[in-house]
Symmetry: C2
Subunit: 207 residues, 2 copies
């Protein structure tokens, strides 16, 4: 369960909730989760400090809610990107490209996902992370589909392949975010890594 | 430059430094970097609080020094593991297996590398991370060697391949550490991922 499910978040005042989340994303990316103060987030959102606590229980809850919200966006965009793709290899390519393209258009979100989230022990150790689980399940189910249709080999369990593919992309995004988005072209790098992983997963005729 | 280079760290009293690092690793893994107190580390090491500051400037410096020390261990063990391997594919397999095997034997080190380090913004944003750079360079140079000898294809730049391979292993270790080391066999998973990446990097006759 998310901690904000009984807040006014989904009611008519949800524009304010969105504004607080956007402000939190900006402040976390600029100052880091631990250095960020709730009062700075309130100021950036143009609300009183106390208003934040009507929507979120704590700074940890704000980070978790932000992650849930952004992963929902990611999952929705990925679903749309996958609509035209036929077969597991094309779907995997689409998935990788759409994920990195999304990150390149929302660098603050990429920073919060790759860096700030690991800064909340609560997030890392106590929260079971349902939207991220959805994301991994979606990725694993594409790989599983390929293993069933025979386009991908079955030597590696699909959840392990999915998790390591996510890790490869997450590390690339981390390097890209830490380099200020200027060290390399993240979408091009995603294509290279996508090719490498796809070749690694493809079924081979002579095996 | 490392912050501890002018401390008594490398002198005759270095047994105490080792003890402080071992205690820090244990306390960071159990309590998390931000929750850990220098006084707890001192107690676990059996030294006075003030003694820690003879060796390390701050808790951040302690984390960075711990990382440097452990990455030196990792780099040395990897060098030994690679000694018998001939050719890039065999070397890559050795590297992946030795890295994950090392992590499975030192779960606290794995936890500090995968989780706690990302909790220090100083580490993530201000520190240039020389031993980790060595680690990545070593991995990239094996891939480059394979590209030159023709056993691996050259479609992906070696540093991008190295970074994403590290990311895949780091994410696997993270899942393993968060699952208390019990969710799956990390060395077996490393073999699967190693196979997948190697197949993805192998040069193909019909291309």
């Amino acid at each position: 369960m998310t901690a904000h499910s009984d807040t006014p978040a989904r009611g008519p005042g949800s524009g304010k909730r969105e504004r607080i989340l956007a402000a939190a994303e900006e402040v976390f990316a600029a100052r880091g989760f631990f250095q960020a103060r709730v009062s700075e987030i309130a100021k950036a959102a143009g609300v009183a400090d106390g208003t934040i606590y009507l929507y979120f229980k704590s700074k940890d809850d704000l980070l978790i809610s932000l992650f849930e919200d952004r992963m929902e966006l990611v999952n929705n965009e990925l679903e749309t990107a996958l609509e035209g793709a036929e077969g597991a290899p094309a779907k995997l390519r689409c998935f990788i490209r759409a994920y990195c393209d999304l990150a390149s258009r929302h660098p603050n979100t990429a920073e919060v996902i790759t860096i700030e989230l690991r800064q909340s022990s609560k997030f890392m150790k106590e929260y079971d992370n349902p939207r991220f689980a959805d994301f991994l399940r979606r990725l694993a189910s594409i790989i599983e589909q390929g293993q069933q249709e025979g386009t991908l080999h079955s030597e590696i369990p699909a959840p392990i392949a999915a998790r390591s593919l996510f890790g490869a992309l997450d590390e690339l995004l981390l390097a890209w975010v830490l380099g200020g988005g200027e060290k390399f072209d993240i979408v091009r790098a995603a294509d290279w890594v996508g090719d490498m992983i796809l070749k690694g997963l493809e079924a081979r005729r002579n095996q």
